[in-house]
Structure formats: structure tokens, C-alpha cells
Symmetry: C2
DNA sequence: TTGTATGCGTTATCAT
DNA sequence: ATGATAACGCATACAA
């Protein structure tokens, strides 16, 4: 069996208190005691039990990262950055996948299941703000929202300026001289605010230029297959778009392939731009123009905020907006 | 403060024992008692503390999935399947990223840090078998290895037949009539067995056909940038390869782009095939021929094995080999 | 069927 | 600076 603190204490002929002091690096321990304890620890191959420590201290040293789908590149790239940022401040990360399931999200937030196993949640939500409010009322788990823009001061929040990002992408298409501009990614049946904001930015940019949307195609999720289907149906209509703004890079990857399968060229016949700047888009053919979101910034600040709230639950909620930048690649400007 | 079992007991005027029975769904509780307890639980909004439960039972209900990089599509797609498979049998998954760091791997396995927070480990390792042996000697954490082939009966193991997979991919290129066949993905300085096995399959298939490798290019990691660089240096040489076998799909995505940037065509000038069958390769231009690995099979069986070992630590180690299948797409056979 | 009491391994309080 | 001991919240052996 694994050795316990008590075993070490007996072996070293000291009290448990002293062992605990040594283990947790307490300052006032005489050098002689420290050596004796350290030797005993070594001989018994003692390792502190984190569960017992957690029960006592109330801290698990773990954060939960909640995303819809971990195999969507934007989320896996974000997860990578979050894991690294958390490791730097001594936290580990549990990843939860909601699979677009509202009930699953709700359960995670209300602690229905096994919450309390972590000290805080980083939440890239599908749920709406109002849903969040009622949920969070029941539990006081430190929570940081990722990626939404609406803010009412009650949640820590690392946001993306979705409206502006969509506006920038659309304006880029307009400046290329495109006039029949469509979009892919609306979710009319859902209440998620991200698509709504991107639609607002898209329509706003067109209106600013005296244009109207050719069409806004829905996408159930933001996967390649959804982008492919949406682009297909866009290309079958008359008039055909000469540019498509996709609400995510992954949608754009599907759209790219659909345009190709229809026997058309990108960007000559149809220009395509996405949002996220996933690595895949830097190698695709053509490479994908996009609006780059600063995921390291998002990860670093989200972790910093949740840790701050863990350490002081009464700290004021803060909203940060992550920088974004338009990146023009082959899918809009050619080679 | 959060309500405890004791609070509920007081409120319902029963013993803690009875409350515990109700909460854990124990059969022999009278209907009257159950109601009283349930009401009290509701009124106090009581939720069991999983940490305390864990300290008592020794089970956390969590598995760790250890991968080199979560944002490599093969691993994020595997993670998705593992999370789902684990959820079905009541476990949650913590994802750990080693970042190709041997020390980090070692620490995770020896429980240096905060191990014991999970009941078992699913390990997609960089380390070699011999390293594993010494490590696992120190701790008896249930462990399942993913993806390696060598087996010595001491570890549960869901394997891939890397030699055969590489052999199949290479044979496919040979049957297309290619003769100047190169490979990308060797790691001469490392001891990982996966690249070694794929090299063996590659060389074996060529030998079977009376051919010799044109060249085997190294790749430090298996990312797009590594594939791009390796393919570039392959294309600069004379004679130029007319086919390239990449040890992973992601390497192939980089190679695809490099061939394109060199002004050549795939598959006319250079045929390319990978291994993994990531979703990206189904949408790329050209779509990527590959050897498909059955990640749902791997995930399902790995979870089943680790759970079996958690429940009975003395169960015999089992090796399973996941099926694989050659999938010919545009990057070798054209449209 | 239900109650009582102990211990899981640690940290923290109170002494000394 | 160190020792004795009481929690942390739960599950279970043992009793009734």
C-alpha cells in the first residue's frame, strides 16, 4: 500500500505536523528535522494524497474547460493554449465536451454531476446569457466565459468582438469588388449569440457599402460537412455568389471543397473568407483568408481571471476583448 | 455554504446512514423515509461532495488521457471518441498534453505530481517500452497503452499494426506503377517505436516488389510544417520522387502544399498517401489517400480495458489490434 | 430497515 | 519549532 503522512511521521520519529510542514515547504523547520523527514519520505516512497488534501483545503488544482466539440480545430487549438497557460500557474485542465447538448451544459454548470472536482470553469458556451444567469445563481463556482460578446457585468469574460470581426471580413470582400456576397453560418433556430453577432457584422458592412446580402445560409453546426452542404445550395441558386463569408474556418474548408466540386475556381469565381485562423487554413489549397483570433491571449487571460476569482471570489467581474486581425490569403486575393 | 449529508439528516430527522442510502440508490429503504430524505435534499439543494466520496471509496470517476499534442487532429479526434466512450460507462476524462516532453510523461506515470486524482490512464506514449517498465513498477495505476505495437504481455494495450499499415500504403503506391518512392516521418534520434515500425513496413513492401526506397526523410514532429519542409527537401533532390508515403496525414497535408508550391501536380507528378484518416483529408484538394485507423474502436476498447482493470487489478493484460483499411482518394488515384 | 461510530489522509487550530 | 488532535464530508462495519 501507499505510504501515508502518518507512516512517514512514525518512521522519522516526528509528528504529522512536522511532516506536513516539510512537505508543503513551511519555513520554520529546523534543518535536522527536515533531513530526517525527507529521508523517511524517500525510503517509503511517500507521495501526498491529493484527494485528502483537497477535502481539507477545498482546492483541487483543476480547471474545467467546456467546449462543444474538442475535435473542432478552433477548440482543440484553444484547449492546447489553455492547458499550457494553466500549467504555468499550477493548474491542470479537465476537458468536457457538451456535444451541442444544452442539458449537458446545464448539468456541468449547476454541478449536477461531479462538479466541485474542479476549482473553476472556463466555458465556451452555447447557452444564452439569460440561461447562464439562472444557472449560476445556484452555484458560486468561479466561471469565465469565452468568446461571447454580450456582457452584463456579472461574469468574467474574455470576449471576441464578433460584430467587428464579421464586419472586417465582409469589408475585405467588398473592397475586392465583389457584389453578390453570401454568408454561411446563421443558426435561426438557436439562440447562440455568436452567429447573431456575425450576421449583424455581415449585414452592417454590406449596408455601409450600399449593398444587400445575396443570401445568408444556415449551418446546423460549424463542421466541414455543414459548410460543404451550405455552399452547395448557395452555388445551385441563381444568381450565384461571387464571394462567401463563412462564420468559421471549418465551414470555409467545406465551402472551398464544394466550390471546387462544382467546377469553379477560388478566388476567381468565388472568393471565400472565414474566421478563426486555424492552422489547416494556412496549408489548404488555396490557403484560406480569415480573421485571426488571438487564442493564446484568450487562454492566458481566461486562466488568469479564473485564478484571480478562485483566490478572491468577491473580485469584480472583468471583460476583456481579444484582439483580432484580418489575414488575406489565396482564397480571396489569389497567389 | 453548501449543505452536507449531516445537514440533510438533521433536516429529515433521520440518520446519515439513511441519507447516504437514499443518495446512492440503496435498495432497502422504506418509501416513507425516502420521501422525507428526498424532500430535505431538495429543500437544502444538497449535492454530494465527490471529493469526500473519493477519499472514502478510493475512486475518482476520472480517467486521464495522455497525448503529445491535443491540437493534432488525430489526437483530438481520438480524444473526442475517448470522452464519449468514457461518458457511457460513467467516467470523465482529463486530458494531459506532454508536448513531446519525456520528463512530463515520466512524471505523469510515476505520479510525481497530482496523479491519484484519476482511476486510470490511457496513454498514447512517446516513451519506449523499457522506460515504461521501470516507471510502472513504482505505481500500480491501471494503464492502457494506445497505438504501439510491441507487446510483452505486461500492459493492456490497444494496438495498431503499424508495420502492416505502412506496408499496405506503400503497396498501394507500387501498384499504381510508381517506382521512385520516398517516405516522410522517420525519427532517427528518437526511440519511439511507431516511426520505426512504419519504416519497417515501408521498406518491406518495397523489398517485396524488388524496389528500394528512394529516400526516407526525417520529421521532428508530425505537424504540417514538418511535412512541408521534408517534402521540399525531397523535391529539390534528383531524382525526384514520383510518390511519397507520409507516416501521418498531417505530414501529408504539409507535403501536399509543398508539392503544389513547387509547381507540381498531385497525383500526376507525385502521388501522396498518409496514415490516420483525419477528417481534414476528406476535404482537402486533392483529397488524401490514407490508411484509416478505427479510432472509435481504439477508444471503446481502451476505456473498456482500463475500467476492467480498475474493477479487478489482477486481471490479465490483454492486447487488441485495431482494424485498419486503405482508403484511396484523389491524392493517389486522381478524380 | 435504520442508527452509531470509525476512518479515509490531509491541513489547521491550539497548545507547549 | 514542534506535538496532539480536531475537522473536511462521506461510506460502511457493526449493532440494534
Amino acid at each position: 500500500m501507499a505510504a501515508t503522512l502518518r507512516d512517514v511521521a512514525e518512521r522519522a520519529q516526528v509528528s504529522m505536523r512536522t511532516v506536513s510542514n516539510v512537505v508543503s515547504g513551511y519555513a520554520h523547520v529546523s534543518e535536522r528535522m527536515r533531513r530526517r523527514v525527507l529521508d523517511a519520505i524517500d525510503e517509503l516512497d511517500y507521495r501526498p494524497n491529493p484527494v485528502a488534501r483537497t477535502l481539507r483545503t477545498g482546492r483541487t488544482g483543476m480547471l474545467a474547460l467546456v467546449v462543444p466539440e474538442i475535435d473542432v480545430p478552433y477548440f482543440s487549438e484553444l484547449a492546447r493554449d489553455v492547458i499550457n497557460a494553466a500549467a504555468e500557474v499550477g493548474y491542470r485542465v479537465m476537458i468536457d465536451q457538451t456535444g451541442h447538448d444544452h442539458d449537458r451544459e446545464r448539468e456541468l454548470l449547476t454541478g449536477g454531476d461531479r462538479t466541485m472536482l474542479f476549482d473553476g470553469i472556463l466555458f465556451s458556451p452555447l447557452v444564452t446569457r439569460t440561461e447562464l444567469l439562472e444557472m449560476n445563481a445556484r452555484t458560486s463556482m468561479p466561471l469565465v466565459l469565452l468568446g461571447e460578446h454580450e456582457f452584463d457585468g456579472r461574469f468574467d469574460h474574455v470576449a471576441i468582438d464578433n460584430v467587428q470581426a464579421a464586419h472586417d471580413a465582409t469589408t475585405h470582400l467588398i473592397r475586392l469588388g465583389r457584389t453578390r456576397i453570401a454568408a454561411i453560418g446563421a443558426q435561426p433556430d438557436e439562440q447562440y449569440s455568436t452567429p447573431q453577432q456575425r450576421t449583424a457584422g455581415f449585414e452592417g458592412a454590406l449596408a455601409d457599402a450600399g449593398l444587400t446580402p445575396l443570401r445568408i445560409e444556415a449551418a446546423a453546426h460549424y463542421r466541414r460537412a455543414d459548410g460543404y452542404q451550405a455552399a452547395r445550395s448557395l452555388l445551385e441558386r441563381d444568381p450565384r455568389p461571387d464571394a462567401i463569408f463563412c462564420y468559421s474556418d471549418l465551414l470555409a474548408m467545406g465551402a472551398l471543397r464544394a466550390v471546387f466540386d462544382a467546377g469553379l475556381r477560388v478566388p476567381e469565381d468565388v472568393a471565400i473568407i472565414g474566421v478563426d485562423d486555424i492552422e489547416e487554413g494556412r496549408y489548404s489549397r488555396p490557403s484560406l483568408s480569415t480573421v485571426s483570433l488571438d487564442t493564446p491571449f484568450i487562454a492566458r487571460n481566461a486562466v488568469a481571471r479564473v485564478v484571480a476569482r478562485i483566490e478572491d471570489p468577491d473580485t469584480d467581474a472583468v471583460e476583456l476583448v481579444a484582439p483580432h486581425a484580418l489575414i488575406a490569403r489565396e482564397s480571396t486575393v489569389g497567389r
